[in-house]
């Protein structure tokens, strides 16, 4: 039960956190210069976006849940299981971010999910 809750936290909080961070970075705009001073400016601008803070909060929750599972299970099991966030992520990108997700991409994501399932079934 503890494991299930931790997995759900990692997947749901992690995915929603990434969606929030993506929204924030799209507000900031495309990063074109990679000088340290320019990057510092990008980070400062990103931190003024509310979505960034919500995203960081959710990703922090996901991070500590991940630490919790890693104390109980092997990395080579935990990380593939968290890949269930692919389905959640693509769904969220299509619905929350308004990204157009092609059939081909959906198919690719499905194949990835199938692989993740095999990895999960192949527990030793």
């Amino acid at each position: 039960m503890v494991r299930l809750i931790l997995y759900v936290l990692v997947i749901v909080a992690g995915t929603l956190g990434e969606v929030c961070v993506t929204r924030a970075m799209k507000t900031v705009g495309e990063v074109k210069a990679f000088r340290p001073s320019a990057l510092a400016g990008v980070i400062l601008r990103a931190l003024r976006v509310g979505w960034m803070w919500l995203g960081l909060l959710l990703m922090t929750v996901a991070f500590f849940a991940l630490l919790g599972i890693l104390s109980l299970e092997n990395v080579s099991l935990v990380v593939p299981v968290t890949a269930l966030s692919y389905a959640a992520g693509t769904l969220a990108a299509a619905t929350l971010l308004g990204e157009h997700v092609s059939r081909r991409r959906w198919a690719g994501v499905l194949v990835v999910c199938l692989g993740v399932t095999l990895v999960f079934l192949g527990r030793s």
């Binding site: 990434e18 104390s71 990395v75 992520g89 299509a94 990204e99 997700v101 690719g108 692989g115 990895v119």
Partner: protein, 138 residues
Amino acid sequence: MKSSGLRFKTYLLILFMVVFGPLGNVLLGKGMKEVGAVSIHTPDQAAHVLGAVLTTGAIWLGIASLITFFVAYLLVLSWADYSYVQPASSIAYGMVALLARFMLNEAVTPLRWIGILVICVGVFIVGHTPMRTTEPGS
């Protein structure tokens, strides 16, 4: 920016993500194995676990590695779609298994390796979809 330059910086940052993300996770796994199974029922236990976590070197290395991953991730997300970047970086799952097998000596069964191969096929299918479908700032 010309599309070839955009493609180069996209692939370079995805390479960073694929190396440092898995390395970070494996180091966290190594650190948490050193801390031991966590059971938190009282604030005292929570404080004790937090103390143990924060004094484990592998955890800090893992966090540094994940921050490197995260910065690359943020930069690439400023121009490429989330649903492009996330599947493209899924090859990281193969990397995690390799690192877990050889750095942590975890047992990885044949079925699990097959699963990883299937993941790579999925990545190949996804890799040819457009990078951006929404206009910046929209």
